[in-house]
Subunit: 521 residues, 2 copies
């Protein structure tokens, strides 16, 4: 059939060049993609023929795996790679937690992100194969071949009186050009092992350095300096400095060197673009260096150290919980400029809830009740209204809502509310007797969720929040990845609560992802 | 550019045959039309070239004309042709009001439809040019050339003692084959005049008959018999019988003969299909016939008699208002079978409101206070909960809602609620002093509307009701003509209340009609 051109006038507004034959008019997908936000691309089939794959949405739903427990994996967080996200400046070498730049470019700790970082590593720990791990130096069975440079430099292995374990003591110039101790790794089987852990005791301006080779078209060497400094991260080309703070005693640090190189490159204007993506397989540790005076112990290089990161996050929560049981957020948050704003120092129900989910798992894994006590303390802000600095608000009719962003007027973010409910659930399930408050907060929240969930249903997708209800702006549609988060959350809740509104909404929302809308009258 | 075929796999579910060239893939509009429910067709431009007109929606918004008053036109009701709708069985010859078959095939009076019928004719009266009108017989100046057939038949003109006006008295056989009185219209200038009005006094089995010619390929003759009978409508081929009831005194009837032929044909299985559409220009009155004993007066044929229909509706409301001030609906209504049902005898806030809008205009036009009193009585059911047979319900938080369908659980139909508010507005504006109750009901309702309106906004269209909130079924999307009704209603309300939520929602909902959705996060 002969195919001709025909202009297509879109709602009387603008023209698109279309095709037609005797029977139909054909619309260019480039237009359809923009107009309806659907996705498509030509792919090759097994038989070598082409097919155009039309996708209504770009995101996937994760079905719950097995029976949910407060000690099991958390949703599909094993797929999260929090620290790799662009809005994470780096993982702090002082506390081992991610530093966010989402709402403030200089970087700040964001408790939600820290909890998610910890939960992701907890889930990876439970779901991944055990990591590969090579001991580089333990002062005993595994002794590294340290090369000492400089006249006054020395290394020795001693029994540390504080830790009662063998360590490598070193004394070398603080400035590497004048000497140091070096351990070359080129001969060791450390391919693909990029997570370094060690016990570290540094004095004065002592430092610990790692060089890595990135084998792209031409090999390039990155140098990671871990120094005694409060400065988070500075980078000058391939020289990258992470501040360890000024610890006075032993400290165990775990560094994902891939992330450290990546974030270092991102901090360097000259390299940011070129190293936007770094391939794990192209990066290799060349050597470790010690400068100044100090000791190291139990140095390992591993494919992963998830539990280390998990406890870094849990301990950060333990150490930074304030007297209200909360983790206040140090940056202001403008949800809608001039209309919905939070001043620095706000609390988030989602932060409280995610922290609970993490702390409960830490209590379970460690057997240390201080984590559980912190989780219980974290419930206090759920009984304080947003107008008084807490996280609680009410939908008309007395339906309580725990706010991810406790603005006035209220915002009613759905995913953040459900995360807070999951935190309360984890806590009340794990601590049945010691915490009736969490159980009540959870029960009240579930009543609200079941009542208000339909208000997030647009008949073809879901809403991220109810800002249109409280501020009269346009509804804030959830993009597909938040839509799938909603579904994943609802499927999890449906596995612990058999109210059909949870499962039927999840099912309908899944259907929206394939373009099956609710019908009209 | 060479155009080739490529199959398109839609969300992994089914294939559509598409086209592609080097740069783009082309999707057949027949698929797009079904998948997204958008509209399009090839049209010719002024310069003779073709253009494909893409329309996101099929409906139009009517901007309010001038300043709204309780005595002015009602929205865009001058465009309504209530009696022509397929779900209207006919206009009753007993009371001059439409009979609905929407939810019960045998026909019933539906107060909303009757009020809309009356309002539409009121608006047409205000907006159309004055009708053409020919007097066929007034017993005085205009004397028809009646032909009398049969030995015992006679006509005479007398002064009627009851009405003190000249009338035509007739006495002929009741059966037309035995004789009668006939007035041929073929010579008179009655082209396109199809609305017949006359005063009528019939005795025994006397009847009044009109013959019309429908000039299609071959001319066909329809005979409309208006008879003393309680039977609404019967039809046998082109013989159509309308029951006038059994009135004992004078009665003025106004018949739209086009509608009467149309509905008669629809009632005849043999003709239904062929006369689904009847063209006004092809229909012509041939003659009037009188049989039996009776009198007629002031016989006119006009292009329209809107005020007659308007008062027929107003008087029906006056005559059928019950002791609760309502017009109960005699058929059950199943909104969702087994879930949301109303038993016969329910009241509708929309019926009450539309009746008020009509009655206020009747009071204004006639100066007769009985219409206003009926409108005031109609407010009583607004203070009775749906659970007690009234029309009132509450959204959580104490927000009152007047229900078009007062189901339990509640339905919260938007357009019906706004119609009820407009009725209350008309009443409180027209009767400022005599009715504080209406003003309070209106004010309370407006508070609810402004609060809850955003819940009907899906970010790409509007919802018809909130059934998903109360019953957990899928949201009930408003089709485009209800969507434009919402917008038309909001624009009207925005002209009497300056709360920006009314105008901004109307504006956004207009934009949805051209495919401009609310953004996602
Ligand atoms: Ca969120
Ligand atoms: Ca309606």
């Amino acid at each position: 059939a002969a195919v001709r051109q025909v202009p297509c006038l879109i709602n009387g507004e603008y023209e698109v060049a279309c095709r037609r034959d005797e029977r139909d008019v054909f619309i260019p997908f480039s237009f359809i993609h923009n107009y309806f936000e659907v996705y498509g691309r030509v792919e090759q089939r097994g038989d070598g023929t082409d097919v155009f794959q039309w996708s209504h949405s770009y995101s996937r739903v994760y079905e719950p795996q097995g029976h949910y427990l407060p000690t099991s994996t958390f949703l599909n967080f094993e797929l999260y790679n929090v620290e790799a996200r662009e809005r994470v400046k780096c993982v702090s070498a002082t506390e081992g937690v991610p530093i966010s730049t989402q709402w403030h470019s200089s970087g700040y700790t964001y408790p939600i992100q820290i909890a998610q970082f910890g939960l992701a590593h907890y889930c990876k720990h439970l779901t991944e194969n055990p990591p590969q791990r090579v001991v580089l130096e333990d002062g005993e069975e595994h002794k590294g071949k340290w090369e000492v440079q400089g006249l006054t430099s020395s290394v020795s292995r001693i029994l540390d009186p504080l830790t009662h374990s063998n360590v490598l003591k070193f004394k070398t110039p603080e400035t590497s050009s004048k000497g140091g101790a070096m351990l070359k790794l080129s001969e060791m089987s450390t391919q693909n092992l990029l997570v370094l852990s060690l016990n570290l005791l540094l004095q004065g301006n002592a430092s610990f350095t790692v060089t890595l080779e990135y084998k792209d078209k031409r090999p390039e060497v990155f140098t990671l300096h871990y120094i005694r400094s409060e400065t988070l991260l500075t980078a000058k080309d391939r020289q990258i400095f992470y501040g360890l703070g000024n610890p006075t005693g032993w400290k165990r640090i775990t560094r994902n060197l891939l992330i450290d190189v990546h974030k270092g490159a991102a901090a360097s204007p000259a390299l940011r673009k070129r190293f936007k993506k770094i391939s794990r397989s192209k990066l290799k540790v060349l050597a470790l260096y010690l400068n100044g005076e100090g000791s190291i112990g139990n140095v390992t290089l591993a494919s992963a150290e998830h539990l280390h990161h998990f406890y870094d996050a849990a301990n950060w929560l333990l150490n930074h919980q304030d007297e209200r049981g909360g983790w206040s957020i140090s940056v202001p948050r403008k949800v809608i400029s001039g209309v919905l704003e939070l001043e620095a120092g706000w609390y988030s129900a989602m932060a409280q809830g995610q922290a609970m989910s993490l702390l409960v798992r830490a209590a379970h894994h460690s057997g240390d009740s201080s984590y559980l006590k912190a989780a219980i303390r974290a419930t206090a802000l759920f009984s304080v209204n947003a107008t008084h600095g807490g996280v609680r608000t009410y939908f008309p009719g007395g339906f309580v809502w725990y706010e991810e962003y406790p603005t006035t007027p209220s915002l009613f973010v759905l995913n953040g509310f459900i995360y807070s409910l999951l935190g309360l659930y984890d806590l009340k399930e794990f601590s049945l007797e010691s915490n009736s408050n969490g159980a009540e907060l959870f029960a009240d929240g579930m009543v609200s969720l079941k009542k208000l969930l339909p208000l997030f249903d647009t008949g073809w997708g879901s809403l991220y929040d109810l800002r249109h209800f409280t501020t009269h702006v346009a509804p804030n549609r959830a993009r597909w990845d938040y839509h799938t988060t909603h579904i994943t959350q609802l499927l999890l809740l449906a596995s612990i609560d058999d109210d059909p509104v949870l499962s039927s909404t999840a099912q309908r929302w899944k259907e929206y992802m394939a373009g099956h809308r609710a019908s009209h009258n």
